[in-house]
Symmetry: C2
Subunit: 321 residues, 2 copies
């Protein structure tokens, strides 16, 4: 079985399911596991720690013979990280959050497919102009960094704006119903993040995975405060969606005050993060957490999403009178 | 042709498309037109002007022999408005924004189906406990009042929480791709608002309809300010999604200051609203405005959404290998 779209065919996928390149979470072992299960696994380059990236890229490269890829935070990435990643010959390179033009030619000249993630229609058109082979329309319900528009209306709008460039949907997709819906919206596949955070191969802390399992979708919030305390100067319009905790309650509406308290707050935050104290440290998570109730293997997640989407798609024509 | 779900069958609908009961916009003529086209038309009771309501209910009652209904703002509605509406023998009664319990028994005892619109999973469970026959999961992308959770992950979460009670999706659905996606998410139909605002039979001002046609999805904002200036004390967590204009730019982040300036600002606002000056007056609209490019008849909209959804659903099984 499997789900066929032009995007899935291009990368020989059984199911058009991409692992979101979650920084520090989507390591090489997880990326390889997703690719081996018939999805497309991406290593999350995050803020560009070159040693970490080299280790994880090697694990992905060695871990799968199927197509795989890597993603970086565009505004933060350096040319060293991009060149390092390209040396491992990934099949796809995923750029999100910023202008893709500084890296687009380099990536495409290396024979690597360029996937650009965007959060609005204007950025989609810019990504197309920059040479994107595939465009991801990311809704505000997504975990981690993103912006304000919701996926259900954004995906068809982006698909119309960049046709015939293939579009994928991201945001709040944690199971087969979401993938089937994405395909009906005109997407050729779905990017899945939070669901893979809470899987066995993810590099997330076990306590963070447990929090995702326990949380409901009303317990997430889009905020700057984790960027402020960590010292990352994210440009507008990006904020990060995370689980609410004591830290978000304490600093709600007080980004400026937090910024003035960093001498005290940053060491405290770093200690909490090191200790796995997620009442202070961030757990990036999307509104799909309602739909996440366990910590299975990555292969099991790919299989579940794929077969449930198949089941829904198979019933669709039966709805027509 | 048509799309069959248990909800559609219960009300003999050709397509499971509900007209959102937009206050002051969804009058009796529009409701009847949607029902006559094979959808389910609802008169929008809004803030409960009894004379307006009686006129519009009579138009709906006289305008269609098919099932139709009425909706009110639950926290604001008085028992007089509910009783008045029930005298016109609507087939469905749509309660949104507040505790449905004060009216649930009255509505159901009148033989009228009770549809409750909710914005999160807890409220869905409360609506089910109150006796709702159908529950609408409304995403933040919806125009007009609503809350923060996005539809793509909310709809399946609500469907799981209240099964086997039928669920409809609302928010950002303006065409057939959205309806097809809603059905894949586990909904039995879709509530459509903004798309019908910009139709011939809607009571919206022609300039407001033109603004919806011209706007893109990034031009909407969720705000309290139009409630503040009009003097409606909406309870948490509800805000209204509207098109950005000079008024929203001027008062952004200054709700409190606006509240202190009402002696001057309210008459100015009311004059603008009366004059059709939508640089000051509100145009409620959802993020689906990207997908709206004309002002057709209501019947044409039902037909377009329905046939496009049929086309997408009909192709779905072809995606399976």
């Amino acid at each position: 079985m499997g789900i066929r779209t032009p995007f899935a065919e291009r990368f020989s996928l059984t199911y058009p399911i991409l692992l979101a390149p979650m920084g520090g979470i989507a390591g090489g072992r997880l990326a390889a596991a997703v690719s081996n299960a018939g999805g497309l696994g991406l290593v999350g380059g995050g803020y560009g720690d070159l040693e970490w990236l080299e280790t994880e890229l090697a694990l992905a490269r060695q871990g799968t013979r199927r197509p795989w890829g890597v993603g970086v935070i565009t505004w933060h990435a350096g040319i060293e990280a991009v060149n390092l990643a390209l040396r491992f010959r990934p099949d796809v390179f995923f750029l999100s959050f910023g202008d893709p033009r500084p890296f687009a030619a380099l990536i495409k000249d290396a024979g690597c497919a360029l996937i650009c993630q965007v959060q609005d229609v204007d950025a989609a058109q810019q990504a197309k102009a920059a040479g994107a082979d595939v465009i991801v329309a990311q809704g505000t319900e997504a975990g981690g960094h993103g912006a304000v528009r919701a996926a259900l209306p954004l995906v068809p709008s982006v698909a119309d704006a960049v046709a015939p460039t293939p579009v994928l949907a991201a945001g709040g997709i944690a199971e087969g119903r979401g993938l089937a819906a994405a395909l009906m919206l005109g997407a050729q596949g779905a990017v899945v993040g939070t669901r893979f955070y809470a899987c066995q191969e993810s590099l997330g802390h076990p306590s963070a995975k447990r929090r995702i399992v326990d949380a409901d979708g009303g317990e997430t919030v889009r905020t700057h405060m984790f960027d402020v305390v960590r010292g990352y100067a994210w440009p507008a319009p990006f904020t990060g969606r995370a689980l609410r905790n004591r830290f978000t309650a304490r600093w709600a509406g007080r980004d400026d005050e937090l910024a003035r308290s960093l001498d005290e707050e940053r060491p405290r935050y770093q200690a909490a993060a090191a200790a796995g104290d997620f009442e202070t440290a961030v757990v990036w998570a999307g509104e799909g957490v309602d739909l996440i109730a366990d910590v299975p293997s990555a292969a099991e997640i790919v299989q579940r999403i794929g077969t449930e989407a198949e089941r829904r798609l198979g019933m669709a024509s039966g709805l027509i009178v």
